[in-house]
Amino acid sequence: MIKNISNLGDAALYCDFGNDVNREINLNVIQFFKNIKKSNIPGITNITPSYNKLIISFDLSITDFDKIKTEVEQLNFKTEIVEVGNLIKIPVCCDNDFALDIKRLEKLLNLEKEEIYKKFFSKKYYCYMTGFIAGMPFLGDLNDSLYARRLDTPRVKVPKNSIGLTEQFCNIYTFESPGGWNIIGKTPLDIFDNKNNTSPNLINPGDTISFFQISKSEFEKKYG
């Protein structure tokens, strides 16, 4: 449930669901996001779910903070938690050419590479949110023996489609981008398809992701 609604500037609502990061709170955020989307409240231009916040942007020439807040509070009343999302399977190649930080992780976590991958591939992950760059999914939670801090110096260019880990989360770099997550492999799938004009995102908030390992030759076949 929303704990507090305040304004973020003069053209957005800042809905606070607390400070904890867990699936239950996030499902609440996503359910609420879906309810608002369905409600078609006039003037809303964007709704951004994250771990435990929901930001609702609106067009100040059509509506204002008080009006949207009243509408949203009425909706909050009707919210019920429903499990949402699809199960999506993502192939990952962990060849040394792609697993840029596996050696660092072996040292940092005091685990052999095989153990790291065994733990990583044995869990399903939940998509808390997508964003920062187009389509990038923030997934969790990792097995707690895989928690690692970010690189001390972020990479200027993380290759597109790299899989990265940090703290309890993993993500997929949908574009070549600067970044500091520990890279353990690469997927041949395009997670964000900028030629798809209707639903460019493969992974959406609330979805469940299961990664599976593929060989380099399988990767190359899929990659063309």
């Binding site: 003069d10 964003g131 920062f132 187009a134 923030f138």
Partner: protein, 315 residues
């Protein structure tokens, strides 16, 4: 003539097709984008007698140089722009906020913006370009929008179609006033900062650095000391949000910003000051002034009325 088009002789620094931007895709990581200076964008279309949300060419600091081939067409430039039209045997100095004509083989040289950043080129016709998720707006990070999501390239061709004959030749009287004081509403993490830091934020001047583009403005000034957490759990952003980095520097999110971020938000620039803020060139200094929500809403209404008034004068 069979085809009407521009040939790009010089692309300019950061020249893109823009319209009003795309709504409702923040949740998949796609920001609004759209023309940075919204007022100058709508005025350009009003002078061209185009639909409100028609695509324009936006340029920054140095604009493109374009050779025109085809039937005569009218165009206008908005912003504070120094430009010339190179006609057969003569050079004509450009005048902003007025429909001017281009004939076959004329060159339009959008030389530079004066003590400002963005300028707009609108034509009394339509650009033959692609749309993505209901908008032509180019977002070079996600590689989406017209022109394959890229800035204008040297030697490329821009086709135009549907040349219209309805236009007024009156010049719109409008001066882009410059501002130094940017009005800001306190953000959700305002109290993460020390008393001294909060005072400094509203008292001191900050310099707009060269690390400034359509995604954001990086400011340089006194360090803003965080006494709580320098990183928060990543959460959504809106344009105009001022985050304080772990190093204590403010960064202002602009139209192509990343949709989520993990730095505390000290404040948000009011909607009415956004168009003026983006026009302040690197090297200039700004000062933040605190304002409450009600006043910001009133100021925005007045700003909108002023824009509507300018639009009505173009008819």
């Amino acid at each position: 003539m069979a085809e009407n088009y521009f040939e790009v002789l010089r692309p300019g620094i950061n020249t893109t097709f823009q319209d009003n931007g795309r709504k409702n895709y923040y949740h998949i990581g796609i920001p609004f984008s759209g023309a940075m200076d919204h007022r100058n964008f709508v005025i350009a279309n009003a002078i061209s007698n185009n639909k409100k949300n028609s695509p324009v060419i936006e340029f920054a600091l140095q604009g493109p140089k374009l050779r025109y081939k085809g039937d005569k067409v009218y165009f206008n430039v908005t912003g504070d722009v120094n430009f010339q039209i190179l006609r057969k045997n003569k050079i004509e100095e450009g005048v902003c906020y007025q429909n001017l004509v281009l004939e076959n083989n004329d060159c339009l040289d959008l030389i530079s913006t004066n003590r400002s950043v963005y300028g707009y080129l609108s034509i009394n016709a339509s650009f033959k370009i692609d749309f993505y998720l209901d908008s032509c707006s180019v977002n070079t990070k996600a590689e989406i929008g017209a022109n394959n999501g890229k800035i204008l390239q040297k030697n490329q061709i821009i086709k135009i179609e549907n040349i219209t004959k309805k236009y007024s030749l009156n010049k719109l009287d409008y001066i882009n006033s410059k501002i130094e004081n940017i009005r800001v509403i306190k953000g959700p993490h305002f109290d993460y900062f020390s008393k001294t830091a909060k005072d400094l934020f509203f008292k001191e001047k900050f310099r707009i650095t060269k690390l400034t583009d359509r995604m954001g403005i990086r400011l340089d000034g006194p360090k803003i000391e965080n006494i709580k957490y320098t990183n928060i759990k990543s959460e959504g952003l809106v344009k105009g949000t001022i985050q304080i980095t772990a190093d204590g520097d403010p960064i202002v999110m602009l139209s192509d910003h990343g949709t989520i971020g993990g730095y505390p938000k000290i404040g948000v620039v009011i909607s009415a000051d956004y168009d003026k803020l983006v026009q302040i060139p690197p090297g200039s200094k700004v000062k933040f002034k605190e304002i409450n929500l009600k006043d910001a809403e009133t100021i925005y209404k007045l700003y909108e009325m002023e824009t509507q008034n300018l639009i009505s004068k173009t008819k």
